[in-house]
């Protein structure tokens, strides 16, 4: 029975199962293959736009440099002028999520960010590293972060509890936001497309009538592409603001 959610299953393309070291099993799954595909696309784009170090930029290098400049001033405006050490990290994170989202918009492609492991793994590791960064940089003073500045003393314990919970909720909500958007969007497309197929294949007259919901369907695909950009932008913007919290503690 066709379930719209089975497009997100990781199927192992080919696996090597050897009984050595206690049933050793390594498999190249479609998730791994698509991660590699995204890496090849990003690496290839950078190699092409490198324009073998010519002084006069080609179209590709202009596009890539303006793209890099927009990420750079986002990081500079968010984290601060002299904190550009985080720029490569945020840039690669943005590019990975953007390209994997755009690749997943092609029909019959597997969505890398629709696997919970990738999204929650990304967000929990970022959360842990930001907390460790804050602890090493500020030590005990880090816990002053949970007391919002200028609030009456009686309110402090309640606010600290809420701030603590919303600080720990960051680790889950960051990844779950990306995961939920992509899964819900692709499931919506899967259901609408299977619905339209039934309508298109009934009769000629109905064929022309269903051109209207088909226009709605292409609008939703446009929306899905916009959501891919928005999710990549918001994920990296929130990572920048979390790093800013770790750096400056309010």
């Amino acid at each position: 029975m066709f379930s719209p959610l089975d497009q997100f299953e990781t199927i192992s393309l080919f696996s090597l199962a050897a009984p050595i070291l206690g049933n050793f099993n390594i498999a190249l799954t479609n998730l791994g293959f698509y991660c590699f595909l995204v890496f090849v696309i990003i690496f290839g784009f950078h190699v092409i736009s490198n324009n073998n170090l010519a002084l006069v930029p080609s179209h590709y290098s202009i596009a890539l440099e303006s793209f890099f400049a927009s990420i750079a001033n986002m990081v500079r405006s968010q984290i601060g002028e002299n904190k550009e050490i985080y720029l490569p990290f945020v840039y690669s994170l943005f590019l990975f999520i953007l390209v994997s989202n755009l690749v997943s918009n092609v029909p019959y492609n597997f969505a890398v960010t629709s696997s919970a492991i990738v999204c929650l793994g990304l967000s929990v590791t970022i959360f842990l590293s930001v907390t460790i960064l804050a602890l090493t940089k500020h030590g005990i003073k880090f816990f002053s972060f949970f007391v919002p500045s200028g609030c009456p003393l009686a309110l402090v314990p309640l606010l600290v509890l809420i701030e603590l919970i919303s600080y720990f909720a960051r680790s889950v909500s960051l990844g779950l936001r990306l995961f939920a958007n992509i899964v819900a969007g692709h499931t919506l497309l899967a259901i609408l497309s299977s619905f339209l197929i039934k309508l298109f294949s009934t009769s000629i007259l109905v064929f022309f009538v269903t051109l209207i919901p088909f226009a709605l369907f292409t609008a939703i695909i446009g929306l899905e592409i916009a959501v891919s950009f928005i999710q990549a932008f918001v994920f990296s913007l929130l990572v920048c603001s979390y790093i800013k919290d770790a750096e400056y503690l309010h």
Partner: protein
């Protein structure tokens, strides 16, 4: 019994459309006030209104999707 639950579930799932309706009303209300207050910014304001309509509509479509899912599979 199962079929009855399907109908009830689909009916309840439609409650998700309340927000989309209200959101689209708010967006076009703002568009009307903005275009009356500042007529030459009508072009971009209309563009934002269409974008806001599409994004608010998306949440309604998600609720409708669950209703179809519950009703037919």
């Amino acid at each position: 019994m199962l079929q009855a639950a399907k109908y009830l579930g689909a009916g309840l799932a439609c409650s998700g459309l309340i927000g989309a309706g209200a959101g689209i009303g708010l967006v076009f209300a703002a568009l009307i006030t903005a275009s009356s207050r500042n007529p030459e910014s009508r072009g971009t304001a209309f563009g934002y209104a269409i974008l806001g309509f599409a994004l608010a509509e998306a949440t309604g479509l998600f609720a409708l999707m669950i209703a179809f899912l519950v009703l037919y599979s």
